[in-house]
């Protein structure tokens, strides 16, 4: 297991390098410059670019990024907060924490609500409960997060003012509710659907019949025998969910005025603040890669038939 994790981490470094190259090429493909304003003259722009090394050939610029990243230096902001180290902007100013909090709560909600709902629907399949859940989950999967966010905002902040319209720095529980629901609704519903199918499949397996023949209690059959087996496809899906929730936060943060990393990232793209774009992309990618690794390890724990090392051969 240890050597497997080590191998994965070494592999991740190469993935991150690749992500850096792609991000670098993409952000340079957008026309414009961080120093371009209505008043600036071409000379001023050229001077500023020379100061930050933006006049050098692309491969040199890329190499400079890689060199400084290997040293742990994420560069300094060019425009948004000129001269401030990017590391401070992401980690010190609470933006990262805000986004991560939103993401983790949404992920937890999706798992803790989606899985039981799916189990209930499967256990009471064909009943009115199953029917209701099917309608709700289908609607939940069909409505995009940003539409739901707007609807929730109108319904529960404007018409019935229970929750704040601006969640801000997420000071209290109330401020979390709407953003977390908007961010996780799709995933909650999708996991519930996936769980229902997978639980139904598990319930009809021969080993469930064996457990029944042994005289195991129904509760134990569902919670011990069926649940663990039906979790396997859901766990596989959790990797993409994590990525989706992290990238999805961009929209939700804007709608609920949460000054998180997602919202800031969009502003940086608009003002071509290259170092921040690069750093944010790399940090979020690293997060997703770590989550994927965690998912794979959990997968191994839940299903003993899976051998992690075989993939490497």
């Amino acid at each position: 297991m240890g050597s497997y994790i080590l191998k994965r981490i070494v592999g991740s470094i190469f993935i991150l390098l690749l992500i850096m190259v792609v991000t670098f090429l993409l952000m340079n493909a957008i026309p414009g410059s961080p120093f371009l304003t209505e008043k600036s003259t071409p000379e001023q722009i050229a001077m500023a670019e020379a100061k930050y090394g933006l006049d050098k050939p692309l491969h040199i610029q890329l190499w400079n990024y890689i060199k400084s990243y290997l040293k742990g230096d994420l560069g300094t902001s060019l425009k948004m907060q000129e001269g401030t180290p990017v590391k401070d902007i992401i980690f010190r100013q609470g933006k990262f924490i805000l986004s991560i909090k939103l993401g983790i709560y949404s992920l937890l909600l999706a798992i803790l609500v989606g899985i039981p709902l799916g189990c209930l629907a499967a256990y009471f399949r064909g009943s009115w409960l199953d029917g209701c859940l099917r309608v709700i989950t289908t609607v939940g999967v069909a409505i995009p997060g940003f539409v739901l966010a707007a609807l929730l905002l109108i319904a529960f902040s404007v018409k019935i003012p229970i929750f704040p319209t601006k969640s801000g720095n997420l000071p209290n529980f109330k401020s979390y509710v709407l953003p977390v629901i908007s961010l996780s609704s799709y995933y909650t519903c999708y996991i519930a659907k996936l769980m229902r199918t997978s639980m139904l499949d598990a319930i009809n397996q021969d080993y469930i019949r064996t457990a029944r023949a042994k005289g195991v209690k129904t509760r134990s059959i569902i919670l011990k025998h069926a649940l663990r087996n039906s979790l396997i496809p859901v766990i596989t899906y959790l990797g993409p969910v994590t990525a989706g929730i992290i990238t999805g936060s961009f929209v939700v943060e804007s709608t609920f005025s949460v000054p998180g990393l997602g919202k800031y990232f969009v502003q940086c793209v608009l003002s071509r603040d290259y170092p921040i774009i690069m750093a944010t992309t790399v940090v979020l990618s690293a997060l997703v890669i770590i989550m994927m690794l965690v998912v794979d390890i959990v997968y191994k724990i839940v299903d003993p038939r899976i051998t992690l090392t075989a993939k490497e051969d």
């Binding site: 021969d206 080993y207 019949r209 064996t210 005289g215 134990s220 919670l223 663990r228 003993p304 038939r305």
Partner: protein
């Protein structure tokens, strides 16, 4: 076939040297009595009478074979005894008595306690019958601990078993401790011929071969020392060498543990190997029932005769062709008015298509449901009482 057991007139000839706490049983003691059992499946297309009034008795230490082709209702019948029938299947009539107790009147909780404890079951495909994510030991021990009926204290509300946990059940009970259960599980694995049982306990089903898994299934089924084991085609999914080993093992254990067995199969060779008595089923009904030798050497019902003619024999000329039974089984959605086998029977008479044949006693403990046995009466015009 060793005559250690006389069907319909049950004698216990095996010495009771196993400390299983089983009492001696008299000649006519009946372990299981099934009377006119009817099971139907209510499908959108209509009622399918999967089991249409079957009756038999099973004595202590007896091995009864139930043979029949696919869809003849043999498994459904067994499932309804043990209460494993799933929707849309329903027992719609008849009686099942186990040691004098009416099983059909049991509450689901009583039935759960009964299953695996007094009666257990092994299934056809050992590859899929064990839960792939728990160790063999865990599953064996569970078979034992789930029958510990007296919880020390009610922990059900807060002590919820975690789905990731290996043994979420154990703490709830005091009856059989985890160590005792483990010890017993190891003993059982050794009993069914699994070497290195201690180590095997902690392995997962995918680390076992097919034959080994079926052995583990048998160990699991017998761990509570049930009085009756229902074996639903336990050797069908195994290759012949392993089949022979498993049959040998079951025969051996049957004697050691004094368990009665209902052996469901479509393999007549297996029946000859292990059973004392045989019921031949066709389209939800028993057509012939008798001692294994009577069924094989003196079959009375045309279906049994044709069935036996369709299997290859070692002592026959090699040029001899096998005789198939013409036609296909009846549609259980629209069963015929008369004998179910009538449409396929070469000796079918007029009455066969009009009325179901009653059982005729054709020998000691040998019954057959066919109008041919009443031929003399029919010829005299007396049959339709």
């Amino acid at each position: 076939m060793e005559e250690y057991n006389v069907p319909l007139n049950i004698e216990e000839t095996v010495e009771n040297d196993v400390p299983s706490g089983k009492e001696e049983h008299g000649e006519n003691d009946v372990l299981l009595k099934v009377e006119d059992l009817k099971v139907s499946f209510f499908t959108p297309a209509g009622e399918v009478k999967a089991v249409d009034g079957i009756s038999y008795t099973l004595g202590y230490n007896e091995v009864m074979g139930i043979v029949g082709e696919s869809g003849s209702g043999k498994s459904v019948e067994a499932y309804s005894i043990i209460g494993l029938l799933q929707n849309p299947g329903k027992v719609i009539g008849g009686k099942v008595e186990f040691e004098g107790e009416d099983l059909l009147a049991y509450t689901p909780e009583q039935m759960r306690q009964f299953r695996g404890n007094k009666v257990s079951m092994i299934f056809q495909n050992p590859m899929t019958c064990l839960n792939p994510v728990y160790t063999i030991g865990n599953q064996l021990m569970e078979a034992l601990t789930c029958h510990n009926s007296k919880p020390a204290k009610k922990k059900d509300e807060n002590g919820e078993p975690s789905p990731e946990g290996e043994e979420p059940e154990e703490e709830e009970y005091t009856h059989v401790s985890k160590q005792e259960a483990r010890q017993r599980a190891i003993e059982m694995l050794e009993l069914v011929g699994i070497n290195n049982a201690e180590k095997r306990m902690d392995q997962y089903p995918h680390e076992f071969s097919g034959g080994m898994r079926q052995r583990a299934m048998i160990a699991m089924a017998l761990i509570c020392r049930p009085k009756l084991l229902i074996a639903d085609e336990p050797t069908t999914a195994l290759d012949v060498t392993i089949q022979a080993q498993i049959l040998e093992l079951m025969k051996d254990l049957q004697k050691k543990e004094n368990t009665s067995i209902i052996f469901i199969t479509h393999n007549l060779g297996v029946v000859a190997e292990i059973c004392d008595r045989v019921s031949v089923m066709y389209a939800g009904r028993i057509v012939e029932q008798g001692k294994v030798n009577d069924i094989f050497y003196n079959p009375q019902h045309p279906y049994t005769k044709r069935l036996l003619a369709s299997i290859p024999r070692l002592d026959e000329e090699t040029t001899e062709r096998l005789v198939p039974i013409e036609g296909t089984p009846i549609d259980l959605l629209n069963p015929p008015e008369g004998c179910n086998f009538g449409p396929r029977c070469s000796e079918c008479m007029k009455i066969c298509l009009r009325q179901k044949p009653p059982f005729a006693e054709v020998g000691e403990g040998h019954i057959s449901a066919c109008w041919l046995h009443y031929k003399d009466m029919i010829d005299k015009g007396e049959a339709e009482k």
